[in-house]
Amino acid sequence: MKSFSELLQQLYFTSSNNEKSCLLRDYLARTPDPDRGWTIAALAGTLTFDFFKRQAIKTLMLERVDADLFAMSYDYVGEMSETVAHLWPDSSETLELPSLSALIEQFQQANREQVKELLVKYLSVMTPEQRWSLLKLGTRGLRVGLSTRSVKRILADYGNVEVSEIETLWHALAPPYTELFDWLEGRSEKPDIRDAVTYHPVMLAHPLPENNPMPLAKEEWQVEYKYDGIRVQLVITEKGKALFSRTGDDISAAFPDLLAKIDEPGVIDGELLIINNGTIDTFNALQQRLNRKKPGKKLMKELPAGFMVYDILVNGDCPVTALPLSERRQLLANWLDKVRSDTVIMSPVINANTLVELHAIYTEASADPGVEGLMLKRQDSAYQPGRPAGQWYKWKRQAKHLDAVIMYAQRGHGKRSSFYSDFTFGVWQGDKLLPIGKAYSGFTDEELKKLDNWVRRNGIGRFGPVREVKKELVVEVAFDAIHPSKRHKSGVALRFPRFHRIRWDKPASEADTLDNALSLIVSHT
């Protein structure tokens, strides 16, 4: 645990990726199994359960510090684990800390009461840095500036193998990764994962460069709609089947209605959507299913899960990722023929013979609430995990815009701790402002500083961590879509709102009205 915590501190405060890589490889070389495997799991975010809940930590903390002082400290520090790490009272006792794996084992085997005892025991003898490490580990919230992708790359460097090999194996292996290290250190063969029901790394698209229209040769590009659902992967082998989200989480339990309809082996890439009698519903409808880990029968009947398929990675039990897209599409069509379900549909290919036609289709797609824009994929593209250059492009529909007035601000977390960076904005209804959304992105660091400063100078009230500000600053808010919503007082919900421009120049009275906002709702036909 001690060396794990030291590693985390070093990684946290090191900015260079090269140095981070050196630090981690050095740690892997001098740390035995299974400790190093658990460290990899913590860094890559592959631990599967929390040792304790944030609420449990908070409860224990509040037994030791005044609730208001805790709240003020938390508001200032901007982060729970660090707040507790500093606030927890030191003990005069000393105790040799266990190894990382021993510690994990103790927490895994403990029941709820014992978990509390363990937490108290260790927090009391730890340094603030060690406390932070334990709390981050136990709640799976570790961020030290290393992405999962970087961790894989460092592992590849460590074992002198290709990162794509690690990618392919990744989801079939589990912490503490002893098989992986055996292979990386040359003590055994590469782990065999052929029949495993696991997530396969996906291929991603680049945004279409603006002002740089694609030279369109019809034979070269396959044009499809970009659907406004969530990207999923269906895996069916002899051993079983599962549906994975784009982050590799198994979401099978939430969509039994979809899984029940398909038995044909393969690994299929597509979009999860609500499909009702052949009609695609909005993201808002899908959201209601996404919120339920185990949906009831009524909900499944009202909002049936559908699958818009667009690629195939494994056909039966044969990997086909090396084949060009045009051939994979044929295989996908064959696979779909065997499935025969009205909620599993092939993503249609759109014919666009000229650039003018393509733009017309794009404009049309932008008006369709069920799609997010277009996808342009090279016909000859192999299925390469990651985001290979020049292969696939997403051409997102143009954002909608509203001029709104900042009403409330809240401090951010992590990197933005102490900055006012989360903003609630509203539009006019008569002479009143109605909040219609929250945004916390779309501004530069420079603008963030200015916004923060503005909030501090223009605060007029405080509700806990929320600062009410003078209704004077207008921002042009961009968002992907606007839907009617019963959950919001204004009656509308914005999809992915973010700052487009800060209108320091514009008087608040000239901001948009609720009627302006309502007029942007595309009716669903």
Binding site: Y12, F13, T14, S15, V65, D66, D68, L69, M72, S73, Y76, V77, G78, E79, E82, T83, H86, L87, W132, G414, K415, R416, S417, S418, F419, K449, D452, N453, R456, R457
Partner: protein
């Protein structure tokens, strides 16, 4: 007569009515009592300034010999009469332990004793006289680090981290962000006490004030101006002290393989260190941490505590829990630990919150 009837927070600072003078005013005034030389407390352009001799020297160094039309040196423990002879205010300075020359100001009027403590700390600091608790009716305190999360470790511990890092990264220039007045000299002395005898390199902005500290009898060892070093590569493995604003500036780019450190009380909060791309945070503060604030307030045993700038919410709450009468003065313009660098992101937007 209550203290608030004759000592009032005004737009430009705390104003003492019967003495017709301000304490640490943020705009030029007729008569100013100055607690210490940091730029947010001591500005140039007053008609008359009353301060300790080192504070006056600091103000002259910063603002020139004509920084005020008239100056009055007041040593520690020397009562000085202000106001009318038949209704006087007696003013006495006591050491505040914050930086060289820093003072608490005791004001006595019609039998009431009010201590304006200015910025102060209780940790040991060889660059200035230690804080001396002054019993009083009203104690006016800052609240820069007034949250229970703040715990300032001993400075030797933090400077040891710097020396360890020098051993570990012997090819890297260790650039340490320190405020030019007070922190800089305190860090130098702490390094010397740990046996670090090599020259310490300074950014131009630090030189004059180090000279001033030397003139006040502090042995800072060998100091070298970075701009006088022709081969910057020779600074690998050396310590360079610079104002925090220079950490990420063009100036620092000429230094070899910089490892950025920063000495400030804020460095305890990791996101703060991260925001400034600091690789080696050193928790060194010239203010009180939470515990020291509470202990000091208990020690001076005042009937009433007034809180000036910082995180006054938390301190007021705690005092209320302890049954001590307290109020916030909400003075605007004192930046806590920022000194002359106007570091908005690190000072949490000043005390005007």
């Amino acid at each position: 007569m209550q203290a608030e009837d004759w000592l009032q927070p005004r737009e430009h600072g705390l104003y003492c009515l019967p003495a017709d003078c301000y304490i640490d005013p943020t705009t030029p005034v007729q008569c100013a009592l100055i607690t210490h030389g940091h730029a947010d407390h001591a500005i140039g352009g007053h008609k008359q300034v009353i301060a300790t001799s080192p504070t006056l020297a600091i103000m002259r160094t910063r603002y020139g010999d004509d920084m005020a039309a008239q100056t009055q040196t007041l040593d520690y423990d020397q009562p000085y009469q202000l106001g009318f002879d038949d209704d006087p205010v007696t003013c006495t300075f006591f050491p505040a332990g914050h930086i060289l020359g820093s003072a608490q100001i005791l004001l006595e009027y019609r039998g009431k004793r009010v201590v304006v403590s200015g910025d102060y700390k209780r940790q040991s600091d060889p660059t200035c006289q230690p804080f001396s608790p002054v019993p009083c009716d009203v104690f006016i305190t800052e609240a820069t680090f007034a949250l229970p999360v703040f715990k300032h470790p001993p400075i030797a511990e933090e400077c040891q981290k710097l020396l360890q890092s020098l051993q570990l990264f012997e090819d890297r220039c260790h650039l340490v962000g320190v405020y030019a007045l007070g922190k800089c000299q305190r860090i130098i002395l702490a390094l010397r006490e740990l046996g670090y005898a090599k020259p310490i390199y300074l950014h131009g902005a630090q030189l004059k004030l180090c000279e001033l500290y030397r003139n006040h009898g502090l042995d800072l060892g060998e100091l070298t101006d970075v701009s006088a070093v022709t081969h910057k590569a020779s600074l690998a493995g050396e310590i360079v002290l610079a104002p925090p604003s220079a950490l990420n500036s063009r100036w620092s780019r000429s230094l070899p393989k910089v490892r950025k450190a920063m000495a400030s009380g804020w460095m305890q909060i990791r996101a703060r260190a991260h925001q400034r791309q600091v690789e080696l945070p050193l928790v060194v503060s010239d203010h009180c941490d939470w515990q020291a604030l509470l202990e000091t307030i208990a020690e001076v045993n005042a009937d009433e505590v007034w809180v000036t700038h910082g995180r006054e919410d938390a301190l007021l709450h705690q005092l209320k829990l302890s049954g001590i009468k307290a109020r916030a003065l909400s003075l605007v313009g004192y930046d806590g630990e920022s000194d002359d660098t106007s570091d908005e992101e690190i000072t949490e937007g000043a005390g005007g919150l």
